[in-house]
Symmetry: C2
Subunit: 142 residues, 2 copies
DNA sequence: CTTGACCCTGTAGTCGCTACAGACCGTAGC
DNA sequence: GCTACGGTCTGTAGCGACTACAGGGTCAAG
């Protein structure tokens, strides 16, 4: 097993395991500038510390809340600059909340139509299929 | 103005306008095999008929309901083969409905967390930002 | 000294479009 | 007939957010 001494730095796979990130995602976040490039060992291996782990967890949690990478980037900038970030952070969260609610509304319209057609289809023995008829005939939802 | 005689076929832009599709999307659907390649004029322009319009509308409505292009492809296959499609169509719709409901559930978890942090942030004058603290401290949702 | 597990890089693929660039066509006005 | 302006054609590249290789280097255990 590899080095797990906390003073010595984590390898990429270990960081991924600890945070729940996919291995390749870690490199991707570095590439797009969300994670700072970690120091390297003599042979070129990345060596992460607790600050990286903390930052990666932050990113992953923001992603779980549905923030885009650009939004995450903005949040991280607030964290890094740390002068009165709450007003701006709150604005970002509120804007994102509105997005989320819009998506929920869209999905609910879909759900409602789908629920109806599935109910009408019943056991599927009908000669005319309500789903197919719906798609041919009407606008999907209003 | 171009030919709008319904007996003579529609050009791509006209088909797009009538169905509400984006111009480029029409060509894309042809490329991926959802729309059959229409006949061409002597100079190579596509010439669509009512069947194309009907099929394109079908695709767009299925997309509005959130079906993936692969699911749309499956639905169109059922339409084309037309032997007792309802059981299979209903199965597709039910599976998709489950997806939609799962997405709604995910989004609702996000909404709930975001709503709380926005409320806690208040007017954004706090020195510690509840959003940023949340992202650093906790798992986002359970 | 070999095996196998890890690491490195760069690149291509995913989904569903969307947006060009650069060429051709077709019509209206002069 | 000439020109301008729009439409159409093709192929290709880009988006977001990863994910999955290929082809190589490194490291520790047996």
């Amino acid at each position: 097993m590899r080095d797990q001494n906390p003073a010595k730095g984590l390898q990429r796979a270990e960081l991924a395991r600890r945070t729940g990130a996919n291995l390749e995602t870690v490199r991707y976040y570095e590439k797009v500038g969300l994670l700072p490039p970690p120091p390297r060992t003599a042979s070129g291996y990345r060596s992460y510390d607790r600050a990286h782990e903390r930052r990666l967890s932050f990113i992953l949690r923001a992603r779980e809340l549905g923030f885009s990478l650009e939004e995450v980037r903005a949040l991280l900038r607030l964290v890094d600059e740390r002068d009165q970030p709450c007003a701006e952070a709150s604005r970002l969260a509120a804007a994102h909340l509105a997005d989320v609610r819009a998506k929920i509304a869209d999905l609910r319209r879909m759900e409602s139509v789908l629920k109806n057609v599935v109910a009408q289809c019943g056991d599927g023995t009908r000669p005319d299929c309500p789903l197919i008829e719906t798609l041919f005939r009407e606008a999907a939802a209003e």
